[in-house]
């Protein structure tokens, strides 16, 4: 009898203690075995194409475009250079999910199957065949960028570059987050400087040397460092010290951006596919890519 009473008191105590414990530990849902990716073509050469497209075959053999694969349409106007996209007036990046771990990404140039259309259907040339490891629960931005060229008037080559986001998708409203990616094929190594509020150049936060293909980790700027609503950045030729790019990031606190140094420093000639014959052979034409070294800014959040 008494034992039962104590058991009852015991239960009450347990309940009491648990009720007093206001610190409720939220259960973090499992991220699942997935990771997120976004694909974007920043190539100045592909911008000259008006035929075909880029098909991305993930872990599957390269076959005819089924309509289900990620596809960048170069024949449409304007070109569709990002996957995935949604119609939205809010500038933000959308991701597609993959199982985390190792994957095989095959980027293929797709050509039309008849001479009357321009839409890419059939695989023509493997541009990139790359083994990629996706981190669990993390987001990665993949850039299809121009590769440093070896000679003029060749068929263009491309490289898959990656910006790995380190998970944090939010910053304090007083901070601006920034990732910098170097994808300018002929600009060489770059020296970066940020512009302080008094106009002086600062090297504390930005990388001293950034080589082609290299992306920085997250860089945080305080909006107090902004002048005229902008956080200034300068990029110099690491060898000659010549100023190549004068750019800036808007000082919108709480937001994150990825800044890509892109475009060619000098004018180059490329052999670009322009049409397809009845026998499925491709016609090429020499096209000029103008020197257009610049930065492209995409808003992450």
């Amino acid at each position: 009898m008494r034992t039962r009473f104590y058991v009852l008191v015991g239960y009450c105590m347990v309940m009491l203690i648990s009720a007093c414990n206001k610190e409720i530990q939220p259960v973090v849902p499992e991220n699942g075995n997935s990771s997120k990716a976004n694909f974007y073509s920043s190539s100045d050469v592909l911008a000259l194409y008006n035929m075909g497209g880029i098909g991305l075959f993930v872990d599957v053999p390269v076959v005819k475009r089924s309509g289900m694969i990620p596809f960048l349409n170069l024949s449409s106007s304007p070109q569709k250079l990002e996957y995935p996209t949604v119609y939205s007036s809010v500038p933000a990046i959308v991701y597609t999910s993959f199982r985390d771990g190792a994957h095989q990404f095959r980027f293929n140039y797709m050509v039309p199957d008849t001479a009357t259309t321009m839409e890419g259907i059939l695989p023509n040339r493997m541009l990139i065949d790359s083994a990629v490891t996706l981190n669990r629960g993390a987001q990665a931005l993949f850039y299809l960028a121009d590769k440093p060229l070896t000679a003029e008037e060749q068929e263009p080559a491309f490289q898959l570059l990656r910006v790995q986001l380190n998970g944090a998708s939010q910053t304090d409203t007083s901070m601006v987050a920034l990732y910098i990616l170097h994808q300018a094929p002929d600009a060489g190594p770059l020296r970066c400087r940020s512009v302080s509020r008094d106009g002086s150049l600062n090297e504390a936060k930005v990388p001293g040397i950034l080589t082609y293909g290299q992306a920085t980790d997250i860089i945080l700027f305080n909006t107090k460092e902004a002048s005229n609503g902008l956080l200034g950045l300068r990029f110099y030729d690491a060898v000659t010290g010549q100023e190549l790019i004068n750019t800036a990031v808007p000082a919108n606190g709480g937001h994150g951006y990825v800044l890509a140094v892109q475009g060619f420093k000098n004018t180059h000639q490329f052999k670009v596919p322009v049409g397809i014959n009845q026998d499925k052979t491709i016609n090429y034409s020499t096209r000029t890519v103008t020197a257009n070294l610049r930065t492209g800014l995409r808003q992450l959040w």
Binding site: L16, L230, L233, P250, A291, T295
Partner: protein, 512 residues
């Protein structure tokens, strides 16, 4: 047995603890009940920003008859209405909680700017509620009195071309088609001939069409773009020495586009000189084989004679370098960027929006969207935070604007654009029958966009147009002019200079 006593004592002790904690909780609940509370739930919460003159509605457990005091900034707010309503937290919920509902007036003395504190005192308890932003109806350079219009100077022809010069000194420059002279209307309204047709051409070319021009803010140099019978000419005129120098001669618009000014091919459609010898020019675009007026922005540096492209669009020739400034929502609509080069700012108009770029770094500063009012509602919240204002532009801002709802868009230092709102507001899209609804919303009114503070404010409380109209616009019984009027310049007093009545008159604002 020994143990059982200990157990009993333990039980008793724990029980008393339990009771005392219940007592404390009960006491705390009583305190909570008397504490004022504000509901921040959607549909009940108050707004994040207000304009002076607005009524702010606070909902919550406020107990108006228990010594309620609301302090906004350093000022005790005047309670104009207090009532109670039945709050239903969720649709379908049967709970029926009575809530208090209090309206206060926002006044000038509460302060202006962001994060103005709201303090609520009731039943002797004081809480800090969410802070608000207060925007004054006026801003820097605003007139406190209404403005009307007066004829400033007479012009001979609506085909005259005005040269771009926003220097804040009231200077107006134009190419007079009837004489071929370059004329200057001074601030006092007198007109002088700056360059005769012979001086303007220097005998080097014959003007068939005068496309565009720009004068530097000092008024010492002008750059002009003209079309002759065979070619396109970009020339620099020295207004003091009265000499002219042809910088570029283009027969066909092909590559090379950038480089030494004499060596490139260029067509100039708009000219924005700064005070340091840089000239920003707008060049054409090409779309499906057709030339479009505006497609890229280049910089001509008069010190080294180089033309370099700064911004391009999807309509630019493929070889043209630059940062893409296309509007992702309407990539193939040619728009004339509004440039104030000395401030390093460029406004790219869009449909009900503007994109702001920094000229030096070529970085986009921000995109500003202006919401329209919902169907059937008169737009009346057009002063305040840009995120909250509702203006029925229903068109592009800037050169493609519909002047009946928004006219002018004159850039001013401090990232401001001055415009005339609601010359004519058609009632039909509002579901109110046709006719001019502008007087119902206080229109027409001179307004300013302030992109530093991200708000709009009134430039003058009223705008009396009295017989003048800024064309082109349609209204029942009113023919539409084919000539677009322009807001041209302002002066030290803040008065505005514009063409009116389809470029038949030059008008100036005067205090009413």
């Amino acid at each position: 047995m020994k143990y059982s006593i200990i157990h009993q004592l333990t039980g008793l002790l724990l029980g008393s603890c339990l009771l005392s904690s219940c007592y404390k909780t009960d006491n705390f609940k009583n305190t909570l009940d008397t504490l004022p509370q504000v509901s921040y739930q959607t549909g009940y919460s108050y707004r994040a920003s207000y304009t002076v003159g607005d009524t702010m509605t606070i909902t919550g457990r406020l107990q108006p008859n228990n010594g309620l005091k609301i302090k906004i900034g350093q000022e005790d707010a005047v309670i104009v209405v207090a009532d109670s309503l039945h709050f239903r937290p969720f649709t379908g919920d049967s709970a029926n909680i009575p809530m208090d509902w209090v309206k206060v007036l926002i006044t000038d003395n509460m302060g202006s700017g962001a994060n103005i504190p709201v303090t609520i005192t009731s039943g002797g308890h004081t809480i800090n509620a969410a802070s608000i932003n207060i925007y004054g109806r006026y801003g820097e350079g605003s007139f406190k009195k209404g403005l009307s219009l007066a004829v400033h100077a007479d012009v001979t022809s609506p085909y005259n071309v005005f040269l771009h010069c926003v220097n804040g000194k009231g200077d107006l420059y134009f190419y007079e088609v009837t004489t071929g002279n370059l004329q200057h209307i001074k601030k006092d309204g007198t007109t002088e001939t700056l360059l005769t047709n012979e001086q303007l051409t220097g005998g080097l070319y014959h003007i068939k069409t005068f496309t565009a021009g720009g004068v530097n803010p000092q008024g010492t140099k002008a750059w002009v773009s003209v079309q002759t019978d065979t070619s396109f000419i970009f020339a620099e005129a020295d207004l003091a020495a009265k000499t002219v120098k042809v910088l570029n001669h283009t027969h066909t618009y092909t590559a090379p586009y950038s480089g030494e000014i004499g060596q490139v091919n260029v067509k100039v459609k708009a000219i924005y000189p700064d005070s340091k010898g840089n000239v920003f020019v707008v060049t054409p675009g090409l779309l499906w084989g057709q030339e479009k007026d505006y497609g890229a922005v280049a910089k001509y540096n008069s010190a080294d004679g180089m033309l370099s492209y700064q911004f391009r669009t999807g309509m630019s020739p493929a070889e043209l370098p630059g940062v893409d400034m296309s509007d992702p929502e309407n990539p193939y609509t040619p728009v004339l960027p509004l440039i104030l080069p000395d401030e390093s700012v460029m406004y790219v108009p869009g449909y009900n929006k503007l994109m702001l770029y920094d000229l030096q770094s070529r970085a986009m500063i921000k995109t500003v969207k202006i919401q329209g009012e919902q169907t059937g509602i008169l737009p009346n919240s057009y002063t305040g935070a840009l995120s909250g204002v509702r203006i029925n532009f229903n068109s592009y801002l800037g050169n493609n604007s519909a002047p009946e709802t928004g006219f002018g868009f004159l850039p001013r230092p401090g990232r401001k654009l001055i415009f005339l709102l609601y010359q004519y507001l058609d009632g039909k899209p509002l579901g109110m029958g046709s006719g001019n609804m502008a007087p119902l919303v206080g229109g027409p009114k001179w307004m300013a966009f302030d992109f530093t503070e991200d708000r709009t404010y009134q430039y003058a409380p009223t705008a009396d147009l009295s017989g003048f109209a800024f064309e082109p616009f349609d209204a029942p019984g009113k023919p539409r002019s084919i000539f677009s009027d322009q807001l041209l310049n302002y002066d030290e007093e803040g008065h505005l200079y514009a063409t009116a009545d389809g470029r038949k008159k030059i008008v100036k604002t005067i205090l009413k």
